[in-house]
């Protein structure tokens, strides 16, 4: 994107290495001299935050795995052993469990940023789709991770979600028994979930590398939605500008993370998961962790079992088609006044779906859940395609530099 590399190794050793494996050049080109739009706001710091969270989850996870036992009769006790006996085990466990929630808070913010600023539009379609793949892998990883402590919610959440596969016509039961390794969620299931939960984060890391590569080819979007035209005027080098901004945002995020991990570590969890799994007793309300609630609401909204499964997966897959569903050529909602309204309604509907997912399914909550589900799909399949054709957008700034100068003039800065 930026043209040729500006890295010039000065010491003999670095010249020697550069001729054999130009890894320092790669890091320099990607993280030091790499040009970023000069008008990026803090909504652009979540990529860095997410990379840090992936590293935090992998490191705490590997260390926890040194003390955890993935066997049905021992898993729950091994987690209590970690909490009580292992040095700083309580901290590692709470960091990992709350880290998962933080990971999802960051990814949802990151995705909603993309929705608002049109970051999924050409030429960033592949970048966006890679992101959807990362999101799916994160959901699979989180689901399996939650099963591992083998509490009541672990067991029954696993039972409900793996039972969904029995909705597949013809092969459903056979596929479900194959997944379980038996006739119900039991020890074989727990063991394989541990294996896959350890594996998937490394798949996530691989797709993240592709995601960053795709990003670096086309360059970041920016709050004006106007592409970089003049590198000298429109961009600044990643280091020190983005490095320091990302660093600051990470510190603030870590404060937020620490608040949960150290002061209210069980707030985002479910107390029933401190009861050991019992296949013969179903808890009164089976609910997944908060980050799955909107999709759980969509699943329950459809009266048919297979229909619910299709709707739930479609709710995520529809995101992959977003670059083609949104017909507007204007990227940022800043210049799309009608879209901006629909965006915030969508945010409210998503939060509403999350709330419905947390409640017991009464006639009232089911009706509201259905209305919200219809709106969710209508936003992608009806509103976005039509809006691009009819919306009158505001005039765009001529360039990023112009947008920055206009903003500075308005606020009286030099």
């Amino acid at each position: 994107m930026s043209g040729h590399s500006t890295y010039e190794p000065s010491i003999g050793l670095t010249r020697w290495l550069d001729a054999r494996l130009p890894i320092i050049r790669l890091l320099h080109d990607a993280g030091v001299s790499y040009p970023v739009p000069r008008n990026l706001n803090y909504m652009w710091t979540f990529g860095g935050i997410l990379s840090m969270m992936l590293a935090v989850q992998i490191i705490t996870g590997i260390v926890l795995a040194m003390h955890y036992t993935p066997e049905a009769s021992m898993a729950f006790s091994s987690v209590e052993h970690i909490m009580r006996d292992v040095n700083y085990g309580w901290m590692l466990r709470y960091l990992h469990a709350n880290g998962a929630s933080m990971f999802f808070i960051a990814v949802y913010t990151h995705m909603f940023r993309g929705l608002y600023y049109g970051s999924y539009k050409a030429p960033r379609e592949v970048l966006w789709i890679l992101g959807v793949i990362i999101f799916l892998l994160m959901m699979a990883t989180g689901f399996m991770g939650y099963v591992l402590p083998w509490g009541q919610m672990s067991f029954w959440g696993a039972t409900v979600i793996t039972n969904l596969f029995s909705a597949i016509p013809v092969v459903g039961s056979a596929v479900t028994n194959w997944l379980w390794g038996g006739y119900s969620v039991d020890n074989p299931t727990l063991n394989r979930f541990f294996s896959l939960h350890y594996l998937l984060p490394f798949m996530i890391a691989a797709v993240v590398i592709l995601h960053i590569w795709a990003l670096h080819v086309v360059g970041q979007n920016n709050p004006s939605g106007v592409e970089v035209k003049d590198f000298d005027k429109d961009t600044v080098p990643f280091t020190p500008y983005a490095t320091v901004k990302d660093g600051f945002a990470i510190v603030v995020f870590l404060i937020f993370f620490s608040w949960f991990a150290f002061y209210v570590p069980n707030y985002l969890g479910h107390p029933d998961n401190y009861i050991p799994a019992n296949p013969l007793v179903t808890p009164a309300h089976i609910v997944p962790e908060w980050y799955y609630l909107p999709f759980y609401a969509i699943l329950r909204a459809i009266p048919s079992k297979l229909g619910g499964v299709i709707a739930m997966f479609s709710a995520i897959i529809v995101l992959a088609f977003l670059p083609w569903l949104d017909t507007s050529k204007v990227k940022a909602a800043t210049f799309r006044p009608i879209y901006r309204m629909f965006f915030w309604v969508f945010v409210l509907v998503s939060l509403g779906l999350g709330y419905i997912g947390s409640q017991a399914p009464t006639d009232g909550t089911t009706l509201v859940g259905r209305l919200f589900t219809i709106y969710y799909f209508a936003h992608f399949l009806v509103v976005l395609p039509l809006l691009g054709l009819f919306e009158k957008t505001k005039p765009l700034p001529a360039s990023i530099a112009d947008a920055v100068l206009a903003k500075n003039a308005a606020t009286g800065r030099a």
Binding site: W156, T159, V160, N163, L164, N177, W178, L179, W180, G181, G182, Y183, S184, V185, D186, P188, R192, P279, L280, V281, T282, A284, H285, I286, R300, P303, S304, K305, P361
Partner: protein, 150 residues
Amino acid sequence: MGVGAVAWPLISQMSPDASTLALASSEVDISGVAEGQIVTIKWRGKPVFIRHRTKKEIEEAVAADNASMPDPQADADRVKKGKDQWLVLVGVCTHLGCVPLGNQGEYEGWFCPCHGSVYDTSGRIRKGPAPKNLEVPDYVFETDTKVKIG
């Protein structure tokens, strides 16, 4: 062909193993189950309800109008001949897999607290989101007081 030969063991290893298959059958002594009582035993990792039905429960189950049910089935097809006081069912709601509560719900059969499915005294779905009746597993009466399930 070679690819299949490599892939098959990797796929097959996930299917139920020998130790799981060995637990595939359970023998249960039902002599202690009084009339009107439901016991729950564990079979293949799942709860199985064994209900010793009262005359009233049997009559209600037989008299019910099958045609209007979501999953129509006659009571006689869900019990063994001459032993219709014994109802053996897999205690897993056919909706999303919760364990229904016995002697509850409008028909005094079972009620699933997760999403409100109502089953009758033959374990048939009458109301709520569950699509099918409670499953009747393969079972035989080895004697009048011993049942082998699976």
